[in-house]
């Protein structure tokens, strides 16, 4: 087991390394004039360094004046020591900015995850138990509809109806106008109020996937021989479903949950952008579209590391939950 984990970690590190190289190569396609203009704009900001100093610093850290490979190794040298540089867009160290925004995304995604699990797993099981019934068709259609909805359209529709027509929620932002005057408890409620629409958006979008996944896996389990055996020996249906079928369905569900890890910490880029929630997704969207190389590189590497970690966790949790896997 330890050997397996070590092998997996080394492989993950390699993949992250090459993934970062790809990202770096793509970013380096930005025209040089853009970087010079960026430095000029940065130097115009209040309290910023001078143009030449900035350009020199950028070149030193990203090797922008040399070849792509040389520049990349240069960057890796700094990144390994935890120095991800200074964000161009936000004018503060990348890691500091990251720490200040990440928790909004985590809270939103945690809420979404809990709601999603509470709604989807029971419905998926129900649909599988009554295959080809009206319930099953409804679940399938709703699930497919959830998959078919583009994030931006759903978010815009929700904003149109709940913010503009009904006026229940604010259109944008994480805090209201009077946030500063509120007591701590009111502030918490205010933030919660602003998170309703983003959470609902994310939930509707993810419902479909999990529901179908549960249904498919449950169907597979229900068709298995040991379920027939359980029924044949006269176990009550409740026990068959809860003890024999559902526990076996849990294995793929655990791996599904661990795949959600990158989502959880990586932020929902489009939803956050549409609701202007200052989480990691919206912040990195701004950084990417405005060519903030330090922040973009950090964000991509962060997601890549998360993906690898989630894969490793999925593998390990498989082994923990399923003795058959452990044997191999």
């Amino acid at each position: 087991m330890a050997k397996f984990i070590i092998r997996r970690l080394v492989l993950g590190a390699f993949i992250v390394f090459f993934g970062a190289l790809v990202a770096y190569a793509v970013i380096r396609c930005l025209p040089t004039s853009f970087i010079e203009r960026m430095a000029r704009q940065l130097s115009a900001l209040p309290g910023a360094k001078s143009y030449n100093e900035l350009l020199e610093q950028l070149n030193r850290m990203y090797g922008l004046d040399g070849s792509i490979l040389k520049g990349f190794f240069n960057w890796v040298g700094y990144a390994i020591r935890g120095d991800f540089g200074y964000s161009w867009k936000f004018n503060q160290p990348v890691v500091q900015k990251f720490n200040s925004v990440i928790w909004y995304s985590v809270i939103i995604n945690a809420f979404t995850f809990v709601l999603q699990a509470v709604i989807c797993i029971p419905l998926g099981i129900l649909a599988a138990r009554k295959q080809y019934s009206a319930t099953d068709y409804t679940v399938t259609v709703v699930a497919l509809m959830g998959i078919s909805l583009p994030t931006f359209f759903l978010a815009t529709l929700l904003k149109y109806f709940f913010s503009i027509k009904l006026g229940w929620f604010d259109l944008y932002g994480i805090v209201g106008r009077m946030h500063e005057q509120m007591t701590t408890w009111q502030q918490v409620v205010d933030i919660g109020h602003h998170m309703v629409l983003p959470v609902v958006t994310l939930m509707i979008l993810s419902i479909g996937g999990l529901m179908r996944y549960t249904r498919t896996n449950m169907l597979e389990v229900l068709n298995a021989d040991y379920i027939r055996t359980a029924r044949a020996k006269g176990l009550p249906e409740r026990v068959v479903i809860n003890k024999h079928a559902f526990r076996n369905t849990m294995i793929p569900l655990i791996s599904y949950a661990s795949y959600l890890l990158p989502n959880m910490f990586g932020g929902a880029m489009i939803t956050e952008t549409l609701f202007q929630i200052p989480g990691i997704g919206y912040i990195s969207y701004q950084a990417i579209t405005q060519g903030d190389i330090p922040f973009t590189m950090f964000y991509i590497v962060f997601i890549e590391v998360l993906t690898q970690v989630s894969l490793i966790i999925a593998d390990i949790s498989y082994a923990v939950a399923d003795p058959r896997v452990r044997a191999n």
């Binding site: 149109y160 169907l219 489009i270 964000y299 991509i300 890549e304």
Partner: protein, 582 residues
């Protein structure tokens, strides 16, 4: 009936093909597919969408970038009218009196100075009447000396001026009295005193300043009305309270009508109006409007009467209403004018079934053309993905070993790269490089294809790993056919059902991805349309709130199309793989 049936049975053998209906595997799949209501619904939706996008453009009377305009009557500025409180300068032809010197002149007038300098030149200023001044080039002609009460005059050498007795007498009285100006022989002279010596300047007037405004009646009188000599003669006559004057051999007379003074020329006994003199400056606001003197005096009269509206008959005899708005000393005359404007945000009508957008383009037509791009991007990307997936997955699954490991690590790498951030970076890079919109679509398709092939490669590899152990593969081994043929002729067709399902399902995903990118402004760009870029208008809260017809239909089309693909894909999966049925 019965007998005929009997007869037909009689001619058939037991194993006759017509008695035992054998369905081909394809037919079985088809039958199962057709029985699935959801799948058929999806298929119908897709057919409608394709017809809408690819045939709709042919039937639409408009093109995708056609801008609609209409005539609209808007209150447009027609003329402005100003109470003239400033001195206005008329410069003699050929003389030089730069605009910058006007300020110096105004200063000298308010301070009552007889002369002023601008640049290296000295100008003299003569007050000829109330608010009527002439400005002249002062030329030194005579120097006067008073030495021991003895007064002497000497002409400046270059001036070619001869001192007449009357001039000498006038000069002496003026200088002893300390006057700044004196008159002699009908001319005005200026004295600049410097102790015992005084310089006498003759003034050749080069400009005049007056507050009166001259408006010619006809185009042909424009020259005369702006002429320095004419104005000088007229102003002189006015300041002396005369009712007529002569200039250039013609006689002119004044007549006061409605507060304006009309100057008429005497032509063989009949008086012809030449111009009006007033204290108000009326000028047209547009290049294509010529205001005649009558119109100008009408406007002036309306303003004097403090009216806010008045009516003028136009050339066709129709009454045109004008409105007057006052801001301080400026009056603006407005009138309803027909002008061509872009038909923005028009609500749905029979001509434009879904109205027009912010560029004045037909939303319905743009939806049709946008559908073409959205669907085309979807198909091209899926084709590319599947092609790459089959080749990579096929090679990986068939050869196994280190090739398999290498390709699978490659797949891991691609899976690891976060999709949206990378595509957004590419979009930003394309923005900064200012790539042509059509080229952009191709790059977008290539990028989506290259980033999306991994899942198909995995499916193909997994299937081939199990297929290659089967007997028919041993048979291909025995017959000794080429490796490429083994992979693509014998293995891949067996993976086809799964691939078709996978491709159909991922089509929906790609359409959403493309729409999302276009919505964020990183995908398809104006003037080309895609469904996503049409909804992009809703990022503007004003449009989102007031013009539902611009963004909701596009969103519905995306949802329906993707839903169609997902229904069909789901139906195909069930049809190909009936094992899931209990």
């Amino acid at each position: 009936m019965e007998t005929r049936n009997k007869g037909s049975f009689g001619t058939q053998k037991l194993d006759d093909e017509r008695r035992v209906r054998v369905l081909s595997p394809g037919m079985l799949v088809f039958k199962r597919f057709v029985r699935n209501k959801l799948a058929i619904t999806g298929l119908v939706i897709l057919i409608v969408m394709f017809a809408f996008s690819f045939l709709g453009g042919l039937f639409s009377p408009y093109t995708q970038a056609q801008v609609f305009k209409h005539d609209e009557a808007i209150m447009k500025e027609y003329a402005t009218c100003m109470l003239n409180t400033d001195l206005r300068y008329t410069v003699r032809k050929g003389a030089e009196f730069p605009d910058a010197a006007h300020a110096q002149a105004a200063l000298a007038i308010t301070q009552g100075n007889p002369s002023f300098t601008y640049g290296d030149r000295t100008y003299s200023l003569v007050k000829e009447g109330e608010d009527f001044y002439t400005i002249g080039d002062a030329i030194k002609i005579v120097e006067a000396r008073t030495l021991a009460n003895k007064f002497s005059l000497s002409a400046v050498k270059d001036s070619a001026f001869t001192i007449s007795p009357a001039f000498a007498a006038a000069a002496q009285t003026a200088i002893t009295a300390g006057a700044a100006q004196f008159k002699a022989d009908g001319d005005v002279y200026t004295v600049v005193n410097a102790g015992k010596t005084s310089a006498i300047y003759h003034v050749e007037s080069i400009a005049l300043a007056t507050k009166n405004v001259y408006d010619p009646y006809e185009e042909q009188y424009k020259d005369i009305a702006t002429d320095f000599g004419f104005r000088y003669a007229s102003e002189l006559a006015l300041s002396k309270g005369k009712t007529q004057f002569s200039f250039d051999g013609a006689n002119y007379s004044y007549e006061t009508i409605d507060g304006d003074i009309v100057v008429s020329k005497d032509e063989n006994g009949t008086a012809v109006a030449v111009c009006t003199i007033s204290d108000m400056l009326v000028s047209s606001k547009a290049n294509d409007i010529f205001l005649s003197s009558q119109e100008k005096s009408l406007i002036r009269n309306a303003i004097r009467a403090k009216e806010t509206e008045f009516v003028i008959q136009d050339a066709a005899g129709a009454n045109v209403e004008y409105r007057i708005d006052r801001v301080n000393q400026t009056y603006t005359v407005r009138t309803l004018t027909e002008s061509r404007v872009i038909t923005m945000y028009e609500f749905p009508t029979a001509a434009h079934l879904l109205g027009t957008d912010s560029n004045g383009m037909d939303v319905m037509t743009r939806l049709m053309y946008g559908g073409r791009i959205s669907l085309m991007v979807g198909f091209v990307v899926v084709f590319l993905e599947t092609f790459l997936g089959i080749v990579m997955g096929g090679i990986s699954g068939y050869f196994g070993g280190w090739i398999d490991t290498a390709i699978m690590r490659f797949v891991d790498l691609f899976n690891c790269i976060p999709f949206y951030p990378i595509v957004m970076i590419i979009g930003t890079v394309m923005d900064k490089m200012e790539i042509d919109p059509i080229k952009r679509i191709f790059i977008l398709m290539a990028v989506l294809g290259i980033l999306g092939w991994t899942s198909i490669a995995r499916v193909v590899r997994g299937q081939i790993l199990s297929l290659r152990e089967q007997d028919f593969m041993v048979a291909t081994e025995a017959t000794g056919i080429r490796v490429s043929r083994k992979i693509f002729k014998h293995l891949v067709p067996n993976v086809m059902p799964l691939l078709i399902v996978q491709a159909t399902m991922s089509l929906g995903g790609i359409i959403i991805t493309e729409a999302t990118l276009s919505f964020l402004g990183l995908g398809v760009k104006y003037p080309l349309a895609s469904w996503g870029s049409i909804i992009n208008a809703a990022t503007n809260v004003h449009i989102m709130t007031n013009y539902w017809f611009i963004w909701i239909p596009a969103g519905m089309l995306i949802v329906l199309t993707v839903l169609g693909f997902n229904f069909v894909g789901d139906g195909l999966r069930d049809a190909f793989d009936p094992k899931m049925k209990r």
